[in-house]
């Protein structure tokens, strides 16, 4: 009886107090996390924004280049034009959601509790925190580099021979991304109610060209329960049917490109598939720029809005012809738990301000450097009109350069932060059949 009385009393207290309010993140932490350049600019001895980093001065600036970029510059594959560091402010709605994340914590399995939206762990990573890597990867996983939903079209993937510069193939896609949950920008916020599978994110792509791959479609469902395996389907135009992808196919060359599905956006998989380690913070030269201020390609020549891709240059035309900024990064080292995984480890350099992947270096199982994957970023305010005010560090260019095979796949595209087409009915298996020809 005594126990019952106590329980009842406790319940009454809770009811009287109303819903439990989540603990708020201190504003100082928010400002440091989202606005690191308000009162501070990264510096490095001898470095002046606007200078060119090349083979002659590469050794001087080795510390502000990731290991792969240093290798390329040092060997004369590319010269890096630099520009002043600028702010890439994220959406105020995303930042506001972050303020409510005081109760977000890691479970023993490495997943999150009490998370709704925004940056899960905005505090500066602590080298003494054994979970620092795990927290960083969640910041990346629930980052805002695609907003709540994004369309990428046109999207050209070009196979290039690094030695000869020969273009071997060009695959032309359209891509769509939709966050079913943890939304801050587009309604419904924070999530779609009708989501029985508790899908976190849907990814859908359609190949437009070339003929032999045309109508190939890829659909990925990532679940909010990170311990649940992704589901992925591939519609093959030449078979006219949908095939469910086995997980191993996400770690294979996607349609013959240098990317694996797991590489998309830097890391496209379950957090719990890897062990994550915080590798420290450093200032690196990253391809962050204002798209509209770059010398652009003459492609796509037929874009009705006159949009042009970032151009390519350097050895094999495998490098973006953009300016680089010196920016603060957090290094995240991921090691696959699957001993048969083709990758030995991923070294991701997260841009501290946006928590987007600025560069990735993958190492093979022997520990040798294998691939370099930088993603060029432009702020949404310096892109097409539709993206104005979206507060997104837009993916604007990427290259997957296979250092061992001397081969690269450049990704040139137009990102649009929009929910116009990106509704749940685009991200289901029937859609693959509907659009399949």
């Amino acid at each position: 009886m005594k126990k019952l009385i106590l329980t009842t009393a406790a319940t009454c207290v809770v009811l009287a107090a109303g819903p439990v309010q989540p603990a708020e993140i201190a504003e100082e932490v928010i400002q440091q996390s989202f606005h690191p350049y308000t009162d501070w600019t990264p510096e490095f001895p001898g470095y002046t924004p606007g200078m060119t980093v090349n083979a002659q001065n590469a050794d001087t600036f080795e510390a502000i280049m990731d290991e792969a970029l240093f290798y390329f510059v040092k060997n004369g594959w590319v010269e890096v034009e630099t520009a002043p560091t600028t702010e890439f402010p994220l959406s105020e709605k995303y930042i506001a959601a972050t303020r409510q994340n005081g109760d977000v914590a890691l479970t023993e399995a490495g997943t999150l509790t009490n998370y709704v939206a925004g940056r899960a762990f905005p505090a500066e990573p602590d080298p003494n925190d054994p979970d620092a890597g795990q927290k960083l990867v969640w910041n990346y996983q629930y980052g805002f580099n695609s907003g709540d939903s994004e369309t990428i079209y046109p999207f050209w993937w070009t196979f290039r021979n690094v030695d000869t510069g020969k273009v071997e193939r060009v695959i032309k896609f359209e891509w769509h991304f939709l966050n079913y949950k943890h939304r801050v920008e587009f309604e419904p916020i924070p999530e779609y109610e009708e989501n029985p599978g508790q899908i976190f994110r849907g990814i859908y792509s359609l190949v437009k060209e070339p003929f032999d791959l045309a109508n190939t479609q890829l659909l990925i469902h990532r679940y909010d329960d990170d311990t649940k395996r992704d589901d992925a389907w591939l519609y093959l135009g030449f078979q006219r049917r949908v095939r469910r992808l086995a997980a191993g196919q996400t770690t294979d060359a996607f349609l013959g490109t240098d990317l694996m599905i797991e590489d998309f956006e830097g890391y496209n998989g379950r957090v719990t598939d890897y062990s994550w380690e915080y590798g420290g913070s450093r200032n690196l030269l990253l391809p962050f720029y204002n798209h509209n201020e770059m010398a652009l390609s003459d492609q796509p020549a037929d874009d009705p809005t006159g949009y042009r891709f970032v151009d390519v240059h350097g050895k094999g035309n495998c490098f973006p012809a953009v300016t680089y900024q010196l920016r603060k990064t957090h290094t995240l080292i991921g090691t696959p738990k699957d001993p048969n995984h083709p990758i030995g480890r991923r070294v991701i350099n997260l841009d501290a301000e946006t928590m987007t992947m600025a560069s990735l270096i993958t190492y093979d199982r022997k520990g040798d450097m294998w691939k370099w994957f930088p993603i060029g970023k432009t702020h949404s305010d310096n892109h097409i009109p539709e993206n104005q005010g979206k507060g997104v560090a837009l993916d604007d260019f990427a290259v997957l350069l296979d250092i061992q095979a001397n081969h690269c796949t450049t990704l040139q595209f137009k990102s649009i932060i929009t929910d116009e087409d990106n509704q749940p009915n685009l991200f289901n298996v029937q859609q693959l059949r509907k659009r399949g020809r």
């Binding site: 060209e209 070339p210 003929f211 060359a253 083709p342 029937q430 509907k434 020809r437």
Partner: protein, 722 residues
């Protein structure tokens, strides 16, 4: 025309001209073409496919297809209630030069005279082989049935008489060619041997079946240009009506492919469209071998419903007139199961008469009857039968008369419809399927339900008084036509079939594999059954497949790229199977009661998948036959691709089965001779000694892989896409 040492001059010329043509195209054509407003897109390809057979009597070109395909899509602005309105089409034209370049194999100079086995002859001091249309002479000594009008030999055709003037011993080929095996179930009683005309139907009309297997030279060379307008491969309208909540109703109306299955190479649920096996037996991609049909498809895409992540309801109605599978016509390079060859042989038999190797026992009860009846058969000696002799039949006795007059053809009167519910539940994709359609493989209704046939042991009493005695013995008059139980006289039917089925796919983490399963139950399917007076019977059938797709590293072959290993196990069980064993072989339903087919695909990728080696294996566990298909594809760039491959068959594939030649259809003439097992007056169809052979029914047991044992090939494809 055919060169044994290499390609003939015309072949080289064609290769050369094709290469020049492709080169010009590559310079003239752009990548996929879009209209200015991008509402219209056009793409396509031109290619050459060359297949060469190297290890058979028919070695040489089996295919040199030059093909152009244009695909287009036209999208319109949303209008009225529709959120999407688009129009799509695929136009295809091809020319297969094999019919001209190797016309002595497949074209208008193909075939030649044939000699048919008469295995029981040597025991009587007679030849072991006789020519087509053999007469009852001491030199040929075939059994020539009286109905062939032997009493007026040398004159023009007489009633049903077999007349070499209209059915000469030329332009023919032996059924199953070199695969023919005379080792039947009993020594001396080898399998029957049939011959079929090989030339296109405009050159040689023998054996052509109107409306089914009657392709002329141009139909063979230009297969899309036929009376079904196959050049218009696909042409359909897509329209979508959206509803609140994200659900939508989609219509796809027109000639199209409706794909229900999840399998490769063989089909379980994917039964909506028939297949054109004449392209390349079972080995063409379904995308290319499915025959698109005029179909009304309505799909309600409900999206998320309750606990289902996705739910979809589909109704289909095939409004285009029924089409069966295209099996390939006798004389074509690809005739799955040898069916086209068999049908042409049997059709020739019905309409012209024919000589069949190893048919009549060299001693029968009828032959031992006292004169004058015995005079109707050749003098074959006395005592037990020691073997079978080639036999010449008159027309309207055995064979295939044609496609049944009730052939399904009306979309309204004889509709084919289907329903499917498909969805996603907790990561498991599933479907439930129902299809009410016509069997796409032909069913042969014979004997008591076949065409009315004459008694070939009877002859015209006006020509010879002996014929009157024969009529008296038979109890019927000359030229009386009636359905005769167990007689090998057939009409082709396409019966109604009802299919219920289900499928699922899911991922199994512990196996690192995605799994596909399909299960289908059909009722109404018909199968050959030599125990039935009509020579067929129905059986419910359960078919299933389990497919496993697993990316697997084979590190010594490629340390950084896994190979796709795709294993499929197909099962088939006939629920109403009938089979007996006789001293002469098995009789009843030649299809296996239970059979397992296994396929294995291993595919890798090198140089960014521009080099794609593939190994395909398929194994028929009951037929003990296997196909191995290694190939390598190289993509030069976005436009050019080449594939070099082989299709190699291995195995025994010799499966004998009762052919009902000893079914005593014409007593007393076909009663077994005294002293022969089963001798005595037996009811029709009750011969103890069912005699077995490879042709024709052993083919059903050999299956599509086993029946193509002599069709190993080297294959090359060169394609330019635009």
């Amino acid at each position: 025309m055919k060169s044994k040492t290499g390609f003939s001059c015309p072949v080289r010329l064609l290769f050369g001209s094709l290469a020049v043509g492709l080169f010009l195209l590559s310079n003239a054509a752009q990548a996929i073409w879009y209209s200015n407003d991008r509402s219209l897109e056009v793409r396509g390809f031109i290619d050459n496919t060359t297949h060469v057979r190297t290890d058979s009597a028919e070695d040489g070109l089996s295919k040199m297809r030059n093909r152009v395909q244009v695909e287009f899509s036209k999208f319109t602005e949303p209008t009225g209630m529709f959120s999407e309105f688009s129009f799509h089409g695929i136009l295809r034209a091809s020319y297969d030069a094999a019919y001209d370049l190797d016309d002595d194999l497949w074209g208008d100079t193909s075939g030649g005279p044939v000699f048919l086995a008469s295995e029981g002859g040597p025991a009587l001091g007679l030849p072991g082989q006789v020519p087509w249309g053999a007469a009852a002479s001491p030199f040929e000594s075939a059994v020539v049935l009286p109905g062939t009008n032997p009493f007026v030999s040398g004159t023009s055709p007489y009633l049903n008489g077999f007349f070499l003037g209209t059915s000469p011993n030329d332009f023919m080929r032996l059924l199953n060619g070199e695969m023919f095996d005379t080792t039947g179930g009993l020594p001396g009683f080898g399998g029957i041997q049939l011959a079929y005309p090989t030339r296109p139907c405009d050159v040689d009309p023998r054996g052509c079946i109107a409306g089914y297997m009657d392709a002329d030279s141009d139909n063979l060379r230009f297969p899309e240009f036929n009376d079904r307008y196959d050049w218009m491969r696909e042409l359909y309208l897509d329209a979508t009506i959206p509803f609140d909540g994200g659900s939508e109703l989609n219509f796809r109306i027109g000639r199209q492919q409706v794909v229900w299955g999840r399998t490769d190479l063989f089909r379980v649920l994917d039964q909506v469209n028939p297949i054109d096996f004449s392209i390349q037996n079972i080995y063409e991609e379904f995308e290319d071998s499915r025959i698109p049909m005029g179909i009304f498809s309505a799909e309600y895409r409900a999206g998320v419903v309750g606990q289902f992540d996705d739910l979809n309801f589909q109704f289909i109605w095939k409004f285009e007139d029924f089409r069966p599978h295209t099996l390939g016509q006798g004389g074509e390079p690809y005739t799955i199961l040898g069916a086209g060859d068999l049908f042409r042989a049997l059709s020739t038999c019905w309409h012209y008469g024919c000589t069949v190797g190893n048919f009549a026992p060299n001693q029968t009860g009828g032959a031992s009857l006292p004169p004058p009846i015995g005079l109707g058969a050749p003098t074959l000696g006395n005592g037990n039968s020691t073997g079978t002799l080639a036999t010449t039949f008159p027309a309207h006795t055995i064979g295939i008369r044609g496609v049944d007059a009730d052939r399904p053809d009306g979309a309204f009167e004889d509709p084919e419809i289907g329903l499917r519910v498909e969805g996603l539940y907790r990561g498991i994709g599933f479907s439930f399927n129902f299809l009410y359609f016509h069997q796409q493989l032909p069913s042969l209704h014979g004997g008591s339900e076949g065409p009315a046939a004459i008694n070939p042991f009877l002859c015209d009493p006006a020509l010879n008084p002996v014929c009157g005695a024969l009529e008296q013995a038979a109890g019927e008059s000359y030229l009386t036509e009636m359905q005769r139980p167990y007689l090998l006289a057939f009409d082709i039917h396409f019966p109604r079939v009802t299919m219920f089925g289900a499928s699922a796919d899911f991922y199994v983490e512990s196996l690192k594999s995605s799994i596909r399963v399909e299960l289908a139950h059909t009722s109404g399917e018909e199968f050959v059954n030599t125990l039935r007076p009509s020579l067929y019977s129905e059986s419910d059938v359960v078919r299933w497949v389990i497919g496993i797709d697993r990316p697997t590293f084979i590190r010594f072959l490629n340390p950084n790229r896994s190979f796709l290993v795709s294993l499929q196990v197909f099962g088939q069980h006939l629920l109403d199977h009938e089979l007996i064993t006789t001293p002469g072989g098995k009789a009843g339903m030649p299809d296996w009661e239970n059979n397992i087919l296994t396929t294995l695909l291993i595919q890798g990728g090198y140089f960014n998948d521009r080099l794609t080696p593939t190994l395909l294996l398929a194994w028929d566990s009951k037929a003990h036959s296997m196909v191995v298909g290694p190939s390598v594809n190289w993509k030069f760039n976005n436009e050019w691709t080449a594939t070099l491959g082989a299709n190699l068959k291995f195995g025994t594939s010799k499966n004998d089965f009762d052919d009902c030649r000893a079914c005593n259809q014409f007593p007393p003439f076909t009663d077994p001779a005294e002293g022969t097992p089963g001798a005595g007056t037996l009811p029709v169809g009750q011969s103890v000694n069912r005699l077995a052979g490879f042709a024709p029914l052993g083919a059903f047991r050999a299956g599509p892989i086993g029946m193509a044992q002599a069709e190993s090939e080297i294959q090359f494809l060169l394609r330019y896409s635009f």
